[in-house]
Symmetry: C2
């Protein structure tokens, strides 16, 4: 089973205070880019893998989705999601994504935000998502970028030039990484970009678009402290389609 760090008391408190937890999608700077990769959701059946507080599920329902299913491993997050949701089209379920089982051919869109880099058995899960989609159905997701997850000691270092650089190492060696983010010993699964792409293609997905997210000029003008985030990408966003549609 996936490490359920989200139910750790101090992690949950820290996570709940993040802008994306307080403000929802508008508090996630990569959301406009991810949103632009989504197909129309009106009248579509949508699953959200790692739904957290349910922000995306509620957004999809507000866009006119026919049915929305949110899955998360954290009972505390689902509890808050249910409290904040009044919409019979949305159903939240507790699930370990390592062992998730979905109805075949029952969904039009699978979405996941910053959850899949926790999953050791990603090829199994992608196969399950592929079977769950109708032909032509889409998978749109974000993960922490492999450049971000690779290093043994992630954190800016000062180059002899005086400028900050990202100390990349370990990139080609996929596997677990233990980092201290909001709590000690958070386990993420490092994969290369090729690892993600080839896992999608091996399931029969057709790749539609990739984005390597960093803040744009307008975001840096609003948050000058983000400028450094253009030196290396923080998030990897992908859109793929189940072929045969």
């Amino acid at each position: 089973m996936t490490q359920n760090i989200y139910d750790d008391e101090s992690f949950f408190r820290g996570y709940s205070a993040l802008p994306r937890s307080v403000q929802g999608l508008e508090g996630a700077p990569e959301w406009p880019t991810l949103q632009a990769m989504l197909p129309p959701v009106q009248d579509r059946r949508v699953i959200d893998l790692g739904c957290g507080f349910g922000w995306f599920c509620r957004w999809a329902a507000a866009q006119g989705a026919a049915q929305v299913a949110g899955f998360d491993v954290s009972e505390r997050m689902l509890e808050r999601a249910r409290q904040e949701t009044q919409d019979a089209r949305i159903c939240y379920s507790r699930a370990d994504l390592e062992a998730l089982s979905l109805s075949p051919g029952a969904w039009d869109l699978a979405y996941s935000s910053l959850a899949l880099h926790y999953i050791a058995g990603l090829p199994r899960l992608l196969g399950e998502i592929h079977r769950a989609l109708v032909p032509g159905g889409a998978l749109v997701f974000s993960v922490e970028h492999p450049i971000y997850t690779a290093p043994r000691q992630p954190g800016w270092v000062k180059h002899s030039s005086g400028r900050p650089v990202w100390p990349l190492d370990g990139y080609l060696d996929e596997g677990a990484r233990s980092t201290d983010w909001l709590a000690k010993g958070v386990i993420k699964q490092h994969r290369t970009v090729a690892g993600y792409v080839n896992a999608l293609l091996a399931c029969g997905f057709s790749l539609q678009r990739i984005e390597e997210w960093g803040p744009d000029a307008a975001q840096i003008a609003a948050h000058p402290e983000w400028a450094q985030e253009r030196e290396r990408p923080m998030f990897l966003l992908m859109a793929a389609v189940r072929q045969g549609g």
Copy 2:
């Protein structure tokens, strides 16, 4: 026009002494990975963009290709390629890949090794390649990896941990990079991985596979000094197909 650094005297001398220039494909450590991404070439019509000394053209002819066209900007490299080739199925031509024009629908495979990261107008060239291929035809190429081309000061630095790290910066800012490799002021075009992938998809290519090359265990056993190359990928390899085949 592309900078023709290959006809620079000292660059040409240095390049001619590289293992890949002396031993051909077997001297290129990424060749087995790239070869595995190729479709069968027997009875196929093949173009090689940036053919250099013609090693791949001769390999394709030896595999039974029906016709092979090699293009390169360097007259000196083509001169040696012609001297070393006795095969009427192979034709070498001088061409600037920034302005290359190809017969539409006339080719089954387009191949390029470590040339496309010199091309500023890559979208134009990819469109030209797409039109030149038959439906179902393949494009297989390698470039220097974006992680490799991005940094302002490419070169290992020692982390405070004592280990070498790759000083990544500038990744999201695509454009020209001037580096000193075999000669001073060699101009390469830095693109992100997403930049390459989305340029392919925008032309109508379907992505088949990506590889981020680093040496494997057997290669490191034979060349222990290569171990560091696993810390970050050196080459990006892609295989794509013109849809409709």
